[in-house]
């Protein structure tokens, strides 16, 4: 039975708009929809350049269109997503606004699909509080007259130059079988790797394949790895703040060469080892969570895996080997 780990990534963006898109967005706060002249055409939404010739379009040639227009084609969205403009079923439509040469894509809110047809006249329903975003128009609604939803807080005080954009996408990742074997092994305080049947290199961390020979490594390639090793290299990170960074103090990630093998465990957390005492040649041993602890799969991303929570000083004297530091992977 395949297990899955959900991983929602919220992508926050701040977009600068430039003169043409900026003017379009500013116009929306004023309940005006602007197009731009290109030859004898009026393009809506406006572009900064003519796609056919590459010629620059003059921001001074922006003209107001609509507010009402005609539906040219449409599709029905019976089950809107969280990010769709409306929470109830609606239409996406190409709407030719009066005075425009090109149709605009937007939502049309008619309640039911049989209330909509090609040629229908629609007008914008404006948001009361507008920020300079295509969503300042909640949707187009049947009729000739624009309407405002709720109290009208008026146009933006200054020209709109920036726009927030939040994209949220959820990924559902199947857990590779090799990682489940690693996790189960860690519950018994075992560290397992896979030995490539061709080149005999041993890989750690559940790679599932040998990049040299490009062959997959299955359960029959599992081998037990030792629980002691030597730090070959490390990185001390002084955290800078970004979404998802939970550390605030400098922390270490170490590379551990397992005894009697050629195997490096990269980016391992350390336990009871202060940042100032992390050094090449330091001897360490595996540190384990109690067997009954619940292990969060997300924690697997920290470098160690399952019940292996990191590496603790073993108290043995340091290893003096000038080549150790070269062992990063």
């Amino acid at each position: 039975m395949t297990r899955f780990v959900e991983n929602s990534i919220v992508f926050p963006y701040k977009r600068s708009l430039g003169p043409v898109i900026g003017a379009f967005m500013t116009g929306l706060t004023e309940q005006r929809i602007l197009g731009i002249r290109s030859g004898d055409q009026v393009i809506v939404p406006p572009l900064e350049w003519d796609p056919q010739t590459g010629a620059e379009l003059d921001p001074d040639g922006m003209v107001e269109v609509g507010p009402a227009g005609t539906v040219e084609s449409w599709t029905w969205v019976p089950a809107p997503s969280e990010q769709h403009p409306l929470g109830h079923p609606f239409a996406f439509a190409f709407i030719r606004l009066d005075g425009a040469s090109t149709p605009l894509l937007h939502a049309v809110d008619t309640g039911a699909p049989d209330a909509l047809r090609v040629g229908a006249r629609v007008a914008p329903r404006w948001r009361g509080s507008r920020v300079g975003h295509i969503g300042d128009i909640i949707a187009f609604v049947p009729g000739e007259q624009p309407e405002v939803d709720g109290p009208d807080s008026g146009p933006a005080e200054a020209p709109v130059t920036m726009m927030d954009y939040n994209a949220s996408i959820t990924y559902r990742n199947p857990v590779p079988p090799v990682l489940d074997r690693l996790r189960e092994a860690s519950r018994d305080q075992r560290i397992i790797g896979q030995r490539c049947p061709v080149c005999e290199r041993v890989y750690s961390g559940g790679r599932g394949y040998c990049p040299i020979d490009a062959v997959e490594l299955g359960e029959e390639q599992d081998v037990d790895l030792p629980h002691t090793g030597t730090i070959t290299n490390f990185t001390i990170v002084t955290p800078v703040q970004y979404p998802g960074q939970t550390e605030t103090e400098p922390f270490a990630r170490v590379f551990v060469l397992l005894d009697g093998t050629d195997v490096i465990l990269p980016y391992q957390p350390v336990v009871e080892l202060p940042v100032g005492e992390v050094r090449v040649g330091k001897r360490v041993a595996a540190a384990w969570a109690p067997p009954n602890d619940d292990i969060d799969d997300a924690g697997a991303m920290g470098g160690a895996y399952g019940h292996l929570i990191g590496w603790i000083p073993s108290g043995e004297p340091d290893v003096e080997d000038p080549d150790l530091v070269n062992r990063i992977f």
Partner: protein, 389 residues
């Protein structure tokens, strides 16, 4: 069957800044492209094909943004290709564009590379937690610091060598009006006193995060003859890749980099890079990568890279200037950084580098980019004379 002679006939770039809040994404890209067209004396209609490069789409949150950029780049009805080879992408993109001309398929190809990192947070963009993968732990510096430590131990380099590069490249940037960082007061002490981010890397040893774009027009022999100004002939191009991690991989001095350099030198007739080039623009996002790449690229024997840096050989007035433009340490719109290297050496051999022009003796220069875990390499050699074949 040899390739067609091919040249850079126009170069353009934006000024690189931490945030270009006055333009859209298309506006940024377009600015560099327009300058390259103007430089080549061409209009949008003269372009046969467009090749676009950039690093991960997550930086701007537009999937395959070339599709949206087609409108701004006059690409309607033309072939358009999007390249993505991690940090080496700017160089790879230029090479893909050059090959379209070398193959005799097109006469004039516009190539652009960009990144608008201010749209998001680059450190975050690179550190998105991927399930079941070793994380980069807080940005690329966390990945590269251990490799730098290995180099220092291996070569016996004094600990200030990296800081010398940080100072040198920032002083070079003062000559380059398009560079992002202009730090006139920088010296060894300022670098040594800057915040320790990923030991041994300090804040000033690390590249900035930039909005910027680079563009070139690459043309055939015929297009070069019609160009209004001098051109930079392409004497060789090469790309090499190797896997990220396996036991025995040398991350400090990667084989792919050595193979890539050997390939491009053979094409360009380079036997002693330190003497045969007038300068090099090499991808150095962390200061220590200058001595490391000096060795990897064969400018000196292994272990001696830091000695060249310390002796000032790579300084603006040294015998082999590296990164006279200020390099990645002074401007880093990630997807464009490789193409900036490639374009800046073209400008050098065209004698168009302005205040950071180096004297031309051999008339040849090396452009270099790398990416991923020091595993993707792209390089080209340009010269002021037409290649023999």
């Amino acid at each position: 069957m040899g390739a067609e002679r091919t040249a850079v006939i126009g170069v353009g770039q934006t000024r690189h800044v931490s945030a270009r809040h006055d333009v859209s994404i298309a506006g940024l890209v377009r600015e560099a492209a327009q300058e390259a067209l103007d430089d080549a004396g061409l209009d949008w209609g003269d372009i046969d094909a467009v090749v676009i490069g950039k690093a991960p789409d997550m930086f701007e949150g537009v999937v395959m943004p070339e599709l949206y950029l087609a409108d701004a780049l006059g690409a309607s009805g033309k072939p358009m290709i999007r390249v993505h080879t991690a940090g080496s992408v700017g160089g790879s993109t230029a090479i893909v564009a050059a090959k379209l001309v070398m193959a005799g398929i097109h006469e004039r190809v516009l190539t652009v590379a960009f990144e608008k990192q201010s749209e998001s947070n680059a450190t975050w963009g690179l550190s998105v937690a991927m399930p079941f993968q070793a994380p980069l732990v807080a940005g690329a510096g966390g990945y590269f610091a251990p490799i730098i430590r290995a180099y220092i131990r291996r070569s016996g380099a004094p600990d200030y060598i990296g800081h010398l590069v940080s100072v040198k490249d920032r002083l070079n940037a003062l000559r380059n009006p398009k560079a992002q960082l202009h730090l006139p007061d920088i010296d060894l002490k300022t670098v040594q006193e800057s915040m320790l981010l990923w030991a041994p890397l300090r804040l000033l040893d690390v590249c900035p995060s930039s909005d910027g774009a680079m563009a070139m027009v690459i043309g055939s022999e015929q297009a070069a003859a019609a160009a209004p100004g001098p051109v930079a002939w392409i004497h060789g191009t090469a790309m090499r890749s190797e896997p990220t991690m396996f036991a025995g991989r040398d991350q400090v001095n990667p084989q792919a980099g050595k193979d890539c350099a050997a390939d491009v030198y053979a094409q360009a007739g380079i036997t002693n890079p330190r003497e045969d080039f007038d300068c090099a623009e090499v991808y150095v996002p962390f200061s220590w990568y200058e001595p490391m790449w000096l060795e990897n690229l064969g400018f000196c024997p292994e272990g001696d890279g830091w000695k060249l840096t310390e002796a000032g050989a790579t300084a603006f007035d040294g015998d082999i200037p590296w990164n006279p433009s200020g390099g990645v340490l002074s401007s880093n719109p990630i997807g464009a950084s490789g193409m900036i290297r490639f374009g800046e050496v073209a400008q050098q051999v065209r004698e168009r580098a302005g205040d950071f022009q180096v004297p031309l003796k051999t008339g040849k220069a090396l452009g270099h980019a790398y990416g991923g875990g020091s595993q993707f390499f792209s390089m080209w050699v340009v010269g002021n004379t037409k290649p023999e074949s």
